[in-house]
């Protein structure tokens, strides 16, 4: 496997990082956009900058998805590449439906799927998968919902003597801080995963000595890819989280974001890597439960939960198919064919999304049962 393959792996990894960025903008900014604490454009811009800063804040490459989940000795560049392709496709499918699913799970699922196709069941550490990925994934939304419910209840109770207007304005200011913290934590956690993958590819290729940490250009390019993705603003997911799940007021948004930021940071500190998406969604659900009379749309929550359960196996199947295609054709040509297929599928999903376009202009329009907004997108800009 030569440098061409390595270059393709790096480009695909950065493409995944980009989808990770726009898929997850909602985690930090959906509630701030919904409560108008920040205008949509300012929100994604601020979040993008903080994601970039976050990518630089912690410089050691984390253990990454590989160790503990798969037998690293069996990982080849084709396995990593096929896994990335599976993860990108699943990220785009869930984005199309406006569902906040975990990008980390998509990546883990994709790599495990292609690993299974490449080397069989013994190459996967199933206990690691259950204890490091599945159990935290089941628990984290409940923990986040609990913390946000308590936070929302306290915030409303304490501020009930305040006038409606000063309460709204005060918590909007608070939201800028809390949303910033979520963005920063996101950049730190998620950009690391791609850095780890690229570094793994460089080590496998012999360009870096084993055990090396990520070179500066890897950190910079991953930080830029996730920041650019964030700035694109996955408006479809933002709309579902900000408008679809719960009708949100500033005190609720503030409580939800504080809960997300605290849980992500605390769990990182205790060595637990949680999905930012699941924590953020649990928190938003909690801020609906903690306020008397707030609307929580359980059917939307149910759809999300279904997508979460499907994420690992679906990304896995796509990773496996992608590996099978690359392997059947063989060598560099197989990887190139995969890449062409990936571009074709991505373009198809993007073109399909134009019919029900969500943009900064209509991201906050009234929720009428689906991500498709009741008002058309402004002609000028957005994605």
């Amino acid at each position: 496997m030569g440098n061409v393959v390595l270059a393709l792996v790096i480009i695909t990894a950065l493409a995944f990082d980009f989808t990770n960025g726009f898929h997850d903008t909602a985690n930090a900014m959906a509630t701030s956009i919904a409560t108008k604490a920040l205008s949509p454009r300012v929100a994604v811009g601020l979040s993008a900058v903080l994601n970039l800063v976050g990518a630089f804040l912690s410089l050691a490459v984390a253990a990454t998805i590989a160790s503990g989940l798969v037998n690293t000795g069996l990982v080849t560049e084709t396995v990593v590449f096929a896994g990335l392709v599976g993860a990108i496709i699943w990220n785009l499918v869930t984005w199309f439906f406006g569902i906040p699913s975990s990008s980390s799970h998509a990546l883990i699922g994709g790599v495990i799927g292609s690993m299974l196709a490449a080397a069989g069941s013994h190459a996967v550490k199933w206990q690691g998968l259950v204890s490091k990925v599945i159990i935290p994934a089941v628990l984290s939304p409940f923990v986040a919902a609990l913390v946000a419910t308590v936070g929302t209840y306290l915030v409303y109770r304490i501020s009930r003597s305040m006038s409606e207007v000063s309460r709204r304005d005060g918590f909007r200011i608070g939201q800028i801080g809390s949303a910033s913290m979520v963005s920063l934590a996101h950049g730190t956690n998620d950009a690391q995963k791609t850095m780890g993958i690229i570094t793994l590819g460089l080590i496998a290729n012999g360009s870096l000595a084993a055990g090396s940490s990520a070179p500066f250009w890897v950190i910079l390019s991953c930080g830029l890819a996730i920041a650019l993705g964030t700035y694109m603003g996955g408006w479809r997911v933002i709309r579902t989280l900000g408008k679809g799940l719960v009708e949100i007021e500033p005190p609720q948004g503030f409580a939800a974001e504080s809960s997300s930021a605290a849980i992500i940071l605390v769990s990182t500190h205790f060595g637990y890597s949680l999905s930012t998406t699941q924590v953020a969604t649990g928190s938003i659900l909690g801020c609906g439960l903690g306020k008397k009379g707030a609307t929580v749309r359980w059917n939307v929550a149910g759809r999300m939960a279904t997508a979460w359960v499907l994420t690992l196996p679906s990304a896995g199947v796509m990773g496996a198919i992608s590996y099978a295609i690359a392997h059947a054709i063989g060598g560099t040509a197989g990887i190139v064919v995969d890449l062409v297929l990936l571009i074709a599928v991505s373009t198809a999903i993007y073109l399909r999304s134009r019919a029900t376009r969500v943009s900064p202009a209509n991201v906050n329009s009234k929720w009428t049962g689906s991500v498709a907004p009741s008002e058309p997108a402004a002609a000028a800009s957005g994605s």
């Binding site: 984390a62 308590v150 000063s166 990182t268």
Partner: protein, 86 residues
């Protein structure tokens, strides 16, 4: 069982999560309410919408609350940086 689920970590995340994730927003709310307390000689009406009410004690309480919240955020950023350089 303990190799499948780390109950101690879950418990720690719940407790510290509640303190930081619910306690700090509550403290911020206390600060906002104190900040809005009307100053001496001010007659409160239903149109009292300003964030700063002008009461000296209120402003002092608010300052302490916001300072604690900011210090906690600083500590949070310190944790990110420190855990990344292990």
């Amino acid at each position: 069982m303990s190799s499948w689920i780390d109950l101690k970590a879950v418990w720690e995340i719940v407790v510290v999560g509640l303190l930081a994730g619910a306690g700090l927003p509550a403290l911020f709310a206390v600060g906002l309410r104190a900040l809005g307390r009307p100053g001496p000689g001010y007659v409160r009406t239903s149109e009292s919408n300003e964030l700063v009410g002008g009461n000296p004690v209120g402003i002092a309480v608010a300052t302490v609350c916001f300072a604690v919240v900011l210090a906690a955020i600083g500590y949070g950023i310190y944790i990110i940086v420190a855990s990344g350089h292990k």
